[in-house]
């Protein structure tokens, strides 16, 4: 009985390995059926759905504000931007303009969330490539961000921190000072991590030229966010379709040139600096006034449909909302960034080595909660 199994090893030139769903570096419950010839990957087929909770169906039986907690649980490393997309879609359909203070608060929180999400990315990406230490440095900073979230809305991970028409709470006393203290010390930390990795020979060998995707292919696949910008396409929803008050702040959209893992790494590192820049401007200009627009007690958008997207940390996060005029969405579809980014994975790893596979999974920065919903 055992000889039969062992014989297949001896004979096999191609071997099919089930990579996940319980695997240390598939970032959750991604499963890949990987065909390998020795260490070389012939093909990889993602199998998803292990975390499917029927979120989009759940939306249909919730009121609009009741949908917000469900969005927290999609991309659980970036709950704030998920909230932002949903309330933005409803507000767009209802034609609500939120007060300036609320818009600035959203931007501050969203950029903090972008930092937190990128920190999780850097931590796990570096860990996958074998560098342990950045993990702890990143999580220390992320904890400070979560502390700020907790102070604002009481939750650290599933924030549920926005409402249709504005923000549920105003800032607590001294929050802006603590936020400023955080962003003042943060850029130095980014420098530290860059010193540990950017010029590190091993890091470069593991990332340069790994998981290359050309700009044309990236557009074809519909990639968004850092995977698209790493290939050199300057596309950022905050710039091209500004929402909230992103047209009032200055920031650059970093892009890469080669579309490899290293460029995507550089892009995200620069994005962290840009986020700090945005937060600083927002704090400087934070207007006074109410944080909630005048909205009816029961949210009933008019009949119609709308698409609204925000630039989430992982890419374009869109909400396609169909309303029948009732107090619950008729249909609310999510355009998840991770799901669409993941499609490019087989193309990116074909012909590369097994070790590159984890690097590519890391660089796509996928969250299975959002892919499966």
């Amino acid at each position: 009985m055992e000889t039969a199994a062992l014989k297949t090893f001896a004979d096999a030139e191609e071997m099919e390995v089930s990579f996940g769903p319980q695997h240390p570096s598939t970032h959750g419950v991604l499963r890949l059926m990987v065909k390998v010839d020795g260490e070389r990957i012939l093909d990889a087929k993602p199998i998803i759905g292990y975390l499917h909770r029927g979120t989009e169906k759940l939306f249909e039986r919730e009121t609009y504000n009741g949908c917000i907690p469900h969005t927290d649980r999609m991309d659980y490393t970036a709950a704030v931007t998920n909230n932002q997309g949903l309330v933005g879609a409803v507000e767009k359909l209802m034609g609500i303009t939120i007060p300036p203070r609320a818009a600035y608060l959203r931007m501050i929180l969203a950029e903090l969330q972008r930092l937190a999400s990128h920190l999780v990315w850097l931590a796990t990406h570096a860990l996958d490539i074998g560098a342990q230490t950045p993990y702890f440095y990143c999580f220390e900073e992320r904890d400070k961000i979560l502390d700020l979230f907790e102070e604002y809305c009481g939750a650290r991970l599933t924030t549920n921190c926005m409402r249709v028409g504005g923000m549920p709470y105003d800032l607590t006393d001294g929050w802006t000072d603590r936020c400023r203290a955080f962003i003042n010390q943060f850029p130095a930390k980014v420098e530290d991590w860059e010193r540990l990795l950017t010029k590190n020979r091993i890091w470069r060998e593991r990332t340069v030229g790994v998981g290359v995707i050309s700009a044309a292919d990236a557009v074809e696949w519909g990639l968004t966010g850092p995977p698209l910008r790493g290939s050199g396409v300057r596309w950022d929803i905050r710039k091209v379709f500004p929402y909230d008050r992103y047209n009032e702040v200055e920031f650059d959209v970093p892009i890469g040139t080669n579309g490899d893992t290293y460029d995507r790494y550089l892009v995200r590192m620069e994005e962290m600096r840009q986020s700090v820049r945005i937060i600083r401007q927002c704090l400087d200009r934070l207007p006074d006034g109410p944080v909630m627009a005048k909205v009816p007690k029961v949210i009933k958008p008019p009949k119609g449909e709308v698409y609204f997207s925000v630039e989430g940390p992982k890419g374009e996060l869109g909400y396609y909302l169909v309303s029948d005029g009732g107090e619950k969405p008729y249909r609310l579809h999510v355009r998840p960034a991770c799901f669409i980014n993941l499609q490019a994975l087989p193309d990116m790893v074909r012909g590369q080595l097994v070790a590159d596979l984890v690097a590519v999974i890391g660089t796509l920065d996928i969250v299975l909660g959002e892919i499966d919903r």
Partner: protein
Amino acid sequence: MPEPLMTYLVIPLAKIVVILLVLILGAAYLTFFERKVLAYIQIRVGPNRVGPRGWLQAIADALKLLVKEDLTPARSEKFVFLLAPVLIIVPALLVFSVIPFGPTDIWRLTDVNVALLFVLGVSSVGIYGIILGGWSSNNKYSLMGGLRSAAQLISYEVPMGFAVVTVVVMAGSLSLVRIVEVQRELGVWFFLPGIVALFVYFVCGVAETNRNPFDLPEAESELVGGFHTEYSGMKWAFFFLGEYANMIVISSMATVLFFGGWLPPFPNLLAPLWASPVLAWVPPPFWFLAKVAAFIFLYMWFRGTFPRYRFDQLMGLGWKVLLPVSLANLMVVALGVLLVGGPR
């Protein structure tokens, strides 16, 4: 007691017991030490709950592993599966029979005139443990880990051999005791003339012990646990102990070959100091252990700093960089010994 019985049986046996105890305890405590060092590199505290300041952590871990269920995969090659952990730990312990901890006979088990060959030969056997363990588990990840390990060993054994030969050329002997004695007589440790050899030796040593940045055979994020994915309980602990014992072996050899073994540091500059009664009282093994500890700290520092090499890059480094460098270095050193006039 008759004299031969004493010299040939009782004393060696006592020494063996002491060395084994110290080594196994040392390897167990290295895990604790490593966790602490890594913790402080990574802005955290590390184990601090079991016993005062966490000092009993290693004991607790050992106990846990002893009572853990020992699983053998159903379709594994049972005998080989059992043999593999033994193959990895025995050679690692065996090497210590020839390592001199001090200048006199009390401080070593034996002094063989081909000790260096013995060390290289025996420590190479350990790799069978990894290959066979990976193969017999009947797990694809384990198999890949085992194969990586085989390739890694072949690529790194060669430059390591050349690095060691450099020392042999300088010392004119294969006996580890003699190598240290020559360093004392010359008043210069071999790391100065053999700085390149030391570098090659230690890099290869890190690769041979499968430690970061060359920890591909067990790369957690790629191969789950690599060759020891299917191992649990005491068998797994043997792999673990073997890895740490091998770290001590590599560090000890580096100390003996390049850093004057048990000799006190800075032999020339601080010579008057070492002659003073207070410091002369310090037993020589202290210096030996201190140097070994420094090397082991280096290991842990690596682990806290570097990402992991990829398989093909590892091979490239071994064959394209380390091998030519060690060969060229050997020729230069040999030429130097010819010109300056080596030991006899």
